[in-house]
Symmetry: C2
Subunit: 214 residues, 2 copies
DNA sequence: GCTTGTGAAACGTTTCACAGCA
DNA sequence: TGCTGTGAAACGTTTCACAAGC
């Protein structure tokens, strides 16, 4: 029963960008915006912006443009960030701790309510900037996920541990995964996974720079 | 004079994935791989793998497949990670320090050789896991970039500071940017930028999960 | 028998261009 | 006049299907 079954993937990715830009514009005191203005700010054509938004409804007014706060509300509803998403983080290394401290996630409604690790030497330790969370053993995932109403799992462990952690997460009832480990996860079809491989982004820049030089 | 002008963007993004998977397979002792095997590991069709690789040359042997180490070498050459890329990191907060400590970047040839920040209270401080780097003032970017042969800039500062930092980086001679700030950078056309907005990846998972539920 | 490389077909996305409305 | 929403055209990417090679 998908709400937006025929919406192209690229459109959904850009919707996140539109929302981010709209929030910035609203903070800057802007009340309305045209597809051209929104597109220019993001390097997208005005036609693209209109087509994208039209997949979800008719939000604009000819001659005027889009009302910024209204479009923000709509985009949040569509993306699901009008609600709070409780997440479990596995891996309390440098990256994991950076995620805990990052306010941008909470601001979007993502709350890390459990932090787990395999390393016995850090289990039980309180985490800075975390509202008093302490590190739990990964093995408690099956109890913690239902008990804390967790829907999203965050993987921030070394590559070789990522697959077993993902398996355990899904078994525990997690509905979607954000994966920072540099490895392709094998999950059942239809399970939402977003992968962020830092090194790959650097590689893409390196390729483009090399292209320019030659 | 681009070497690979007509190669689709998605193909270049997948080439990074192929390389990562091939490195894992080589570590696991695999010597040859077919397009089907490589594709299955990544959720891509065999035809897609072959088309992608064929944009860059003829690397395979009918009836056999691809020689793993040879394909790794080729992919590294194409992506540019057969060389070392020296990078400057601006922003020594939680995320910045996680990047400094992350070995995966160095393993791919990306070396952070300068760390800068605006915050006077941390300037001069030595950084853990950094080979003895100390934090420099952002204002020294114009001297540091040429002096240390830096080609890539990494932005890990709060959103409002990202644009001025980007401007300063490009003025200082940086050739490409990896941007972790949740804001669209305005850069001259053709300047390679890769943007990583952590919150957006979470949002995409939330959307997909919400789609399943309804 | 198995697998590549590749034209051709199928498919999906973006851009165009304009009717209709403020 | 300015701007949206949208069919239709243009463009780009993926999949198909098979000849050729191991």
């Amino acid at each position: 029963m998908p709400r937006y079954a025929n919406v192209p993937g690229p459109t959904i990715r850009r919707l996140s960008l539109y929302l981010r830009q709209l929030e910035a514009m609203w903070s800057a005191g802007r009340d309305t915006v045209s597809s051209k203005q929104l597109g220019d700010a993001l390097g997208v054509t005005d036609a693209q912006v209109r087509k994208d938004l039209a997949y979800f409804g008719q939000f604009g007014r000819p001659g005027i443009g889009y009302r910024v706060p209204h479009l923000i509300d709509q985009a949040r509803m569509i993306l699901g960030t009008d609600q709070t998403w409780r997440a479990a983080l596995v891996g309390a290394g440098n990256l994991g701790r950076a995620l805990i401290a990052y306010r941008g996630l909470a601001r979007k409604g993502f709350k890390i309510v459990a932090v787990l690790d395999r390393d016995a030497s850090i289990i039980g330790r309180p985490l800075p900037d975390s509202d008093g969370l302490a590190v739990l053993p990964v093995s408690t995932l099956p109890e913690v996920v239902p008990a804390k109403n967790i829907r999203i799992g965050i993987i921030a462990v070394p590559a070789p541990e990522a697959q077993p952690v993902a398996d355990l997460m899904l078994q525990a009832g997690v509905q979607g995964i954000v994966n920072f480990a540099p490895v392709a996860l094998n999950v059942p079809p239809g399970v939402p996974v977003s992968a962020i491989d830092l090194a790959i982004h650097f590689e893409q820049v390196a390729f483009q720079v090399a292209e320019l030089a030659d």
